[in-house]
Symmetry: C2
Subunit: 504 residues, 2 copies
């Protein structure tokens, strides 16, 4: 049997069709599905997942990929696609079916256990499940194999090429610069934030979000905004992108900047080429539906949310829009105050409420715990104490209980270990991409101030989005910016911005 | 290989999981999908349809069904399920793959051609496609085979057991009684309807619809209401039922009674047993996704829309709700006037706007044309003339053009031939079921008037809904009411009601 690139593309597109159906099922589950639809939806998704896995891991698919990889008629881009699919194929075949099935069962129980543990502030209820998960993840390290650190396997899952060694180095740098910066900020006079917590009717907030979306590029012909308990973005095609937000009537920031964050993710999706539908260059997920290059994805969201969306220039655009939508609430707020307010530090126990500086300490704590758990240096029983000690050390605060401490995130109960570091890396890449963007697009600030985002969007698509997952976050960064990940960009960005806001 | 009933049930449930994913894709397409999602959605649905077809028509499935049909350990209900699946299996295998693929292509072109033809009032644009469809449907008659009339094949597709002979007989009866009734109505004094076309803000109409839904049984834990261009209902599970409506700010009836109609469909879905998920007894669709027993389905919608929802008793409940929601618009309208208004005749060219009497003449015309087209007694070129002649004969009106004439319905462009008769049969079954319901549930009217619908819902579920598609509409009717379809129930119902409204 001789296979062509078209055979391969067609098969990958078919698998992707199933994946997109699952994405729609999950979108619906989180937005509109009636509550009693939960159980049938779970089985429907499971069936589709099984079909997709069967189609991708068939032996003939391996033969096809092996054959195409030596096909000299393929273009470089085609070859790269086949190479990535072969990596995915081997990844999908690496774990025994029994292990995967067991993980599904363990995770299903773990999630219920975690919900109960968090609700009742009783870590012991989660202990057994969490132990099983860590045990299985340690097994996974051995089964997949690693060179230096068993946790590398888990980082690599979401962030190909990233390792403990590299991340440790980044975080050491970060601590060195960020801790003194935080100290200066804490000693400075704090900006006004009272106006962010006034009463903002939800309908008006939705109106505002819907006005911001097309400015960032999410037009209504190919995207939509809905509400869900946790904001997310998803995609059925580059021309069918869904983002969600949540509204709180007494907190303007909650919807405003989560919308802008998800817009960044959305534009990452819109920037894909539909011609590459199903190929690694046309998607951000492996055929198993797990997103990879998470740091890259996060960088695109953070770039809009923080680097551009919280910039002084963007306030020329945003402040009048907010004032127009909420004239009374914003009556006594100047543009300068607004800009300082949306950039102010919100130190607290909860990661998802954190500002863009303290956020990284939340991540560091989770990363260090995961790394040491997988290495066997610490055990699941030790987590609450270590958690609280680290919060005291890094942020000088101590959670009152485990509910607002080590039980706050859903990730571990879902078996997601290795995911957290991507969040921080995303901010660092964002700063580096911002620098490159400003070098390549003339007059970024005046254009942002006028809402003229066309060139910015085009530069991002051309340089970043259109490659899908053909390159690791690391390699793409080097390709686009001319240097490997350099945390200095983020440190410079943060230092300059906060020095101005806190006047030191 | 020995198969158990559980093997069979599991496989059918898996196929159904794919079917439900497709239902969600279609629901989304008609409610929330951004316009540019159209093309990828079409390919995603096509892939799932192909997978479902492959899973159902595999040879081993035929072997399994043949084996189980002789398995004496099965209960009667289990045996009935297997029998029905075997009918479905043979049905799915009967047409050559090339024919099916060709139909998909022809229909895809036909739909575009029909849209253009309707928009430009130019029947000639639709002619070629329509000819191809009729030609292929004539072929289908020969390939599937029939005893008496080639059109029987097409009625049977949506309405197992129905034939030209039976439907002709029903329509002869109907004409005999309905034409004189219509004449009397036309000569009588017409009730007020002005108030139905006042200004009714859409938000308030939605509020009203959402209040009516739980009364009919569609509670928010297992159902929801959305808007779409054409109202429909669908189901991802008996506990996840979606209905849609459309709102017109200057027409109260459009959303009000289409909501009640779709509620009837929705309750038909809620009444299924989730334990039978995937089995014929747990679904209303064949594994290919085509709904069968359409007359039964329609009867459940019409029963709520017309027999119960337009009854005098229901006005005790509905009128105060409407008046409460629209106090100004309803200020000068008495309950008696409201009841007469919602039951008044709306003679016009458009089937979907028709009242519950003239509606059947719209159907008769389509039925007679389809029947004669398939038999070769008339040709596609003749349709506009025949259409207009029949409208003149039956309803004494003549469409100004083909757009409001023979191009008005989407059905033919979708290749749906044989579907129309079910709409009328649904009304006739509804009247017969209403009579049975009133015999078996004591004090139906006082209960309806108070919104106490629990017993009505339970009776419908117990006697009708829980059987899924184990029985043909005909057989179920006989089982439940003790007699075959008897049009006299509908004639009695209509005569009594209109005599009171039009005072003759």
């Amino acid at each position: 049997m001789t296979y062509t690139f078209d055979d391969y593309h067609e098969h990958m597109a078919k698998i992707t069709d199933i994946g997109k159906a699952m994405r729609l099922q999950r979108w619906d589950k989180n937005t509109y599905m009636p509550h009693e639809g939960t159980h049938p939806r779970a089985r429907q998704i499971a069936t589709l997942a099984g079909l997709s896995q069967t189609l991708f891991t068939a032996d003939w698919v391996g033969d096809m990929l092996q054959q195409l990889i030596t096909d000299d008629t393929l273009s470089d881009r085609q070859k790269r696609n086949v190479q990535q699919s072969l990596v995915d194929y081997n990844y999908a075949k690496a774990m025994p079916a029994e292990w995967t099935e067991k993980l599904v069962r363990v995770v299903s129980q773990a999630h219920t256990a975690w919900v109960d543990a968090k609700k009742g502030d009783d870590y012991s209820l989660f202990l057994t499940s969490f132990k099983q998960i860590v045990e299985m993840k340690r097994e996974e390290s051995e089964l997949r194999g690693y060179e230096n650190h068993p946790y590398d396997v888990h980082i690599d899952k979401y962030e190909p090429g990233a390792t403990v060694e590299k991340i440790d180095a980044v975080f050491v740098e970060l601590k060195k610069s960020l801790l003194p910066l935080l100290q200066k900020i804490n000693q400075a006079e704090q900006p006004r934030t009272d106006f962010l917590f006034r009463y903002f009717p939800v309908d008006k907030q939705r109106e505002l979000s819907n006005k911001i979306m097309p400015i960032i590029g999410l037009t209504s012909d190919k995207s939509r905004l809905d509400t869900s308990a946790h904001p997310f973005s998803t995609r059925m095609a580059p021309s069918d992108v869904r983002i969600t937000t949540r509204f709180s009537a007494n907190n303007l920031m909650e919807s405003l900047y989560s919308t802008i964050h998800e817009c960044g993710h959305g534009m990452h999706s819109i920037g894909l080429n539909y011609d590459d539908y199903g190929l690694p260059s046309g998607e951000y997920e492996r055929p198993d539906g797990v997103s990879t290059q998470m740091a890259l994805a996060e960088s695109q969201a953070r770039l809009w949310e923080n680097n551009l969306g919280r910039s002084k220039a963007f306030m020329d655009l945003l402040y009048p829009m907010v004032k127009d939508t909420f004239p009374e609430q914003m009556e006594d707020v100047s543009q300068e105050e607004f800009w300082k307010g949306v950039n102010s530090l919100q130190k607290g126990f909860i990661r998802t409420d954190a500002d863009e500086l303290t956020y990284h300490f939340h991540i560091m704590i989770r990363y260090e715990i995961e790394r040491d758990l997988i290495a066997g240096a610490i055990e699941v029983e030790d987590v609450p104490n270590i958690w609280n000690t680290k919060y005291k050390e890094y942020l000088n605060i101590e959670p009152k209980n485990n509910t607002e401490g080590c039980l706050q995130d859903v990730h571990w109960s879902q078996g997601s270990i290795g995911y957290f570091p991507s969040y921080s890396l995303g901010s660092f890449y964002a700063a580096q991409y911002e620098a490159a963007l400003r070098k390549n697009v003339q007059d970024c600030d005046p254009k942002l101030a006028l809402g003229e985002t066309k060139e910015i969007i085009a530069w991002l698509k051309e340089n970043i989005h259109q490659h899908g997952r053909l390159y690791s976050s690391e390699d793409l960064c080097e390709r686009v910016t001319g240097e490997a990940l350099n945390i200095q960009h983020f440190i410079d960005y943060a230092t300059a911005k906060y020095a101005e806001i806190y006047s030191f």
